[in-house]
């Protein structure tokens, strides 16, 4: 992670390892740096180590090895209540026996703040999430989205510089989730707080974050801004995990600079951009995004590579068409085309020719 080491580190994980049973590592040699004011998302499938990392940062788990620094100071031995980190939990963890106001008052009370100051801050925090009228309600009397807002307000009310969020939107329905994604990023940027956000939802990660760390198998597979992550996945896992992806297996035939020729298992030869293949004869998996595949000859750019395909299925989805093709032996090759007046609607059984630009076709590791 040489890229991250160079950044100004407000939160730094330095060679952190974590094991629960002394035999297997849940987190393997984690190095990560989060800049002040940055919104970083830890994205990964369940069991990838992302939540463990968050819990180590919050202080609920201890690192087995390595060091975690906050604002330059090691915090391994600082108990959670002295770290001053705001946290939003998966199920909000609003105290059910306290009203909304009491929930927000709690972090201020334990800091010994005077009542009048508390009231001002509580009101400001509630207004911030547009929940000013709910101060006397109990959490059980609130909807999921409202509870979410209160949990957010509670994590922010004592003005922490760092806020952690553990899949905070998982329990909300789609529409509300999209709305809250927007609210959270707006607040985070307005207040200038540093946010570490954990999710397994890639859309959430892409839409909200400044940087996304993709976790798998206890390691960060790639740490990049969303667009780079999507368009330039560094390896097969990231390519598969982020967005939809077509893959074709083959062997590298030749490499010249930033281009290579791959012989697919079906025998076809295609051009691709080598990403983490290094020598001729290596097995590779090439990855092409469905929306970069084109069947309309007139729309194909100069230098595009073409290949024969058989239409297996045509799905009308309104704004786009999804066409399932058989390409070089792969029967799950998806082509996504925009619904435009000049766009062709294929029928199953049609034999067509499709194409893509070599730079959109990335030759990745074959695992």
């Amino acid at each position: 992670m040489s890229a991250s080491d160079k950044r100004d580190g407000f939160v730094v994980f330095d060679k952190v390892q974590k094991s629960y049973d002394g035999e297997t590592l849940v987190v393997k040699d984690l190095n990560l740096s989060v800049a002040k004011g940055e919104f970083l998302t830890m994205l990964g499938p369940s069991g990838s180590g992302k939540t463990t990392c968050l819990m180590m940062l919050a202080g609920f788990e201890t690192a087995t090895n390595g060091e975690i620094l906050l604002d330059g100071k090691p915090i391994n031995s600082v108990p959670p209540h002295k770290r001053g980190i705001g946290m939003v939990f998966q199920n909000y963890a609003l105290f059910p026996h306290m009203s909304v106001g009491e929930n927000l008052s709690f972090p201020l009370e334990v800091r010994g703040m005077a009542k009048s100051d508390r009231e001002v801050k509580i009101k400001r925090a509630l207004d911030m999430v547009q929940m000013g009228n709910f101060i006397n309600r109990r959490p059980a009397q609130l909807s999921g989205g409202q509870q979410q807002r209160i949990a957010l307000a509670r994590a922010l009310v004592f003005e922490p510089e760092l806020v952690l969020m553990d899949e905070p939107l998982g329990a909300l329905d789609k529409q509300l989730r999209e709305h809250m994604q927007f609210e959270i990023t707006r607040l985070a940027h307005e207040l200038g707080i540093t946010t570490v956000y954990v999710t397994h939802d890639q859309t959430e990660a892409l839409t909200m974050s400044d940087n996304v760390a993709v976790f798998d198998d206890g390691r960060i597979q790639q740490l990049d801004p969303p667009d780079k992550l999507y368009e330039e996945p560094r390896n097969s896992f990231v390519a598969q995990f982020i967005g939809e992806n077509n893959t074709l297996d083959g062997v590298v035939k030749e490499i010249t600079g930033d281009e290579c020729v791959v012989q697919l298992d079906s025998g076809d030869l295609i051009d691709a951009q080598p990403v983490n293949v290094s020598k001729v004869g290596e097995r590779t998996r090439v990855s092409i995004r469905p929306e970069r595949v084109e069947a309309n000859k007139e729309r194909l750019k100069e230098g595009a590579h073409t290949i024969k395909a058989q239409v297996l299925e045509f799905i009308y989805m309104g704004d786009v068409f999804r066409t399932r093709l058989k390409v070089a032996g792969n029967e799950n090759f998806i082509m996504k085309t925009r619904n435009a007046p000049d766009q062709v609607r294929h029928k199953p059984g049609d034999m067509i020719e499709i194409g893509w630009l070599p730079k959109d076709c990335r030759a990745l590791d074959h695992d």
């Binding site: 202080g59 209540h81 946290m87 939990f89 963890a93 105290f95 026996h97 709690f106 972090p107």
Partner: protein, 435 residues
Amino acid sequence: MAPSDASDTPTAIGNETDSKGRLLTSDGRPLRAALQRANRRRKLTALGLVAPLLAFILIFFAYPIVQMMWRSVDNPAVVEALPRTLAALEEWDGNDLPGEEVYRALYEDMLADEELPRAEQKMGPLAVRLNYEISAARSAIVRTARNVDEMEAPYKEAFLDAHRLWNDPTIWRIIEREGRPLTASYYVAAVDREYNAEGEIVQAPENRQIYVALFGRTFMMSVVITFMTFALGFPIAYYLSTLPMSKANLLMIAVLLPFWTSLLVRTSAWIVLLQGQGVINDMLVALGVIDDENRLTMIYNQTGTIIAMTHILLPFMVLPLYSVMKTIPPSYTRAAKSLGATPWTAFRRVYFPQTLPGIAAGGVLVFIISIGYYITPALVGGQDGRMISNEIARHIQSSLNWGLAAALGTMLLVSVLILYWLFNKLVGTDSLKFG
């Protein structure tokens, strides 16, 4: 469905009204009636489902309780045995011995009783009943009745000769007072009162007062036991709730073990542990904590009862607590800590308040059960570790004063109900969680 038929479309239902302005269904019936008909069937089904349990409770729970309450005031013995005597006593002034006519009436009652078949004779129950009120009444009745056919007028003299008690106006006052089908005397006795010569209710002599003090002690000990089960049960329930299911179940077995152990085994175990020459004392002596002359008395007294009952009743506290704690996710405490609370504050202000329903349920269970406990106190309680139930059991099993037992039982029941009502007022039963 034809879209043109407006009354059949969903939006049109309910828009029709009859002359009184009530809503109608699509086929013209009042909507309210249709709803009631639809609900009636559901109510019948519900009734059918609860009926067996309801019948069971009525027969085996409500009926015996009502019968017990009835027995605490039921007073047939005097009325049935001495109808003539009671009639004659109406003329009596209540001060000196009654006149000849009363003794003659008593003679006639006894003679009439003699004629009845044995199982229907009333003098036996009368003797038992009057002996509760005054000692030696049993022999006065039974011995006099046995020889009544040899008696001759004047009867007053004959009775005075037969037994000294007939020479005592007290027994006549008692016969007159108890010559009614209902009596309050069992309750009078149950609160350590008695009737004086003027028929007023006064404090019983100090050396015969038992029940009020015993009620007080029973409540006090129940409170102590409830607190002990809480103090011991809370940490273990907390620990159990943090363990994975398999380990928690294993430990739970250890907690539940007293449930499955027979009373005798349990009692012997306590005796072996707690008695003067027992394991604990031996250990303390061996360790030099106490010397051999001053062994601790931990059994056959209040301490013994409290230790034993705390042991038995612990599961009743642990189970509701555990089931409540199990539903409190660790994220609450974590949230509190992340908000800056120390572990103690997080426990006190966030975790503990959420366990209150479990504490309340466990407390109510343990308290109510311990108020009614009697076998254990009888075996390990010695003289000062006994409870009111031991007296009730004694009156049911050996002294056979079932009326007094019923009065004491009713008082116990009513006091538990009052406590429950108070509890409901203060805490609210809807917050109870019995697990």
